[in-house]
């Protein structure tokens, strides 16, 4: 089985385990092409989706993955829960676990919340995004999509464009891609870059055209409108002219490049509609691979017997 009981983040994650997850995910992709897209692998396994923050894509993707594996699922969202009545995070989690569950998929606005959860519950925990920290399942589906397109990850040149500092998608992608031997260049406004670029082992360029020229693939991140008007990004128009992946810009470069976006997109801001719908974009493949990757992760983490002492 995989070396770690949980999937909390990709920082320091074993290379061969990422490889196993991606390979298994391709097998599940085949299942998703069948007339009946369901296998009984996780029959009798109960999984709780604990979402303390809004999400459509990730939540639906996880739910579908669980249903395709025949697991039983329960959904919990913070807005309709006892947290509103003042119950603590710990009590909520312990109460849910007391109902005999096997795994928890959690999204939480606080970085480190899933790790914190491992201190007082015993189930397998999968991080579905914790604040500005990590979003490991997104990075795995991104890597799977790159692998599908290029047949490898090692030596691949990937540009990540946008607000890296506040992006859990970016951070998990950086960790994952570096572990798999890809090269990463970040691009975006300097004030939205992480402080430890060197430590992460990635390059930085503030010239998006240079990155387009260099990269095999671009992962374009959403510019979060929440950040506008807080002095971080002056305006959407200015952002678009400096860092937007516009159709004119891509045409100018006349090269083949794969475009990814984790969604939701702001068409006309960080990416043009024409680019997002174009032949170079694999954004919808990413969505399908998301279900397959999450099936692989759940299958590999919830399948085997628990090892003593873990």
């Amino acid at each position: 089985m995989l070396k770690n009981k949980h999937l909390l983040g990709l920082e320091g994650y074993p290379r061969e385990d990422i490889q196993t997850i991606i390979e298994t995910a391709f097998n599940f992709r085949e299942v998703l092409d069948r007339p009946i897209k369901k296998v009984p692998s996780l029959q009798g396994v109960t999984i709780v989706n604990l979402f303390f923050e809004n999400s459509t894509r990730t939540k639906i993707s996880f739910e579908l993955a669980q249903k395709r594996l025949s697991a039983d699922t329960v959904n919990f969202s913070a807005s309709s829960s006892s947290l509103k009545k003042g119950e603590s995070f710990k009590d909520t989690a312990q109460n849910i676990e007391a109902m005999k569950i096997d795994a928890v998929v959690m999204r939480h606005p606080t970085p480190g919340a899933p790790k914190h959860l491992t201190n007082f519950i015993d189930s397998v925990i999968i991080n579905a995004g914790d604040g500005t920290h990590e979003h490991p399942t997104q990075a795995i589906l991104d890597m799977m999509s790159l692998h599908e397109k290029f047949g490898k990850l090692k030596g691949l040149k990937v540009g990540i464009i946008g607000d890296i500092k506040h992006s859990r998608v970016a951070l998990s992608n950086i960790y994952g891609l570096k572990i798999m031997g890809a090269e990463v260049t970040l691009c975006g406004p300097p004030n939205l870059m992480p402080k430890n670029i060197e430590e992460l082992g990635v390059n930085y360029s503030k010239d998006v055209d240079q990155v387009i020229e260099w990269a095999d693939a671009l992962n374009v991140l959403r510019i979060q409108r929440e950040r506008m008007g807080r002095g971080l990004v002056p305006s959407t128009r200015e952002y678009r002219s400096f860092f937007g992946i516009t159709s004119e810009r891509l045409k100018r470069h006349m090269k083949e490049i794969v475009i990814m976006h984790p969604g939701p997109m702001n068409r006309g801001v960080e990416i043009d509609g024409e680019v997002a719908d174009g032949d170079q974009a694999i954004i919808l493949d990413q969505v399908l691979n998301g279900v397959a990757s999450r099936m692989a992760i759940l299958y590999l983490l919830c399948g085997g017997k628990k090892v003593e002492g873990e």
Partner: protein
Amino acid sequence: MNEESVSRTINRLCHEIIENNSNCKDVVLIGIHNRGVPISQRIQNKIKELIGIDLQRGSLDITFHRDDYRERLVVPELMGTDINFSLDGKIVVLVDDVLYSGRTVRAALDELNSFGRASKVQLAVLVDRGHRELPIKPDYVGKNVPTHEGEHVDVTLRETDENDSVFLIRNRD
């Protein structure tokens, strides 16, 4: 069994399949990974040679349908399922190397349902070694090899190993 007897046995299986299914109308072959796949390929070739019909063929990886997955600790080795046609109304001949407990076949029958409703499913195996744990019976048997628990039937094939052979291996104690 040596090279020659393996090939003679597969030939006989082909004749039986043809005879049983009025010249193979609507018959499709599905090999179960690992060694059922090359055997199904040989059956396909042989039937083509005999009656000139190229049967559709697919392969099945039953890993996701195993009933013992939660008991095991190792990462499963996946070969992938490849069936790119509908099984609706077809006569499916499932092919495997060794029939033992019947659990693999049970899982395969289960998985076949995901690809449509076959009108009939038949089972062809190279070796039947007995000790069934489920009510499953093969339609075509290459060789019956009565075994004791603890013994092991080792099948090798040109495609996956060095040569064709079937050995019965006894435990030392």
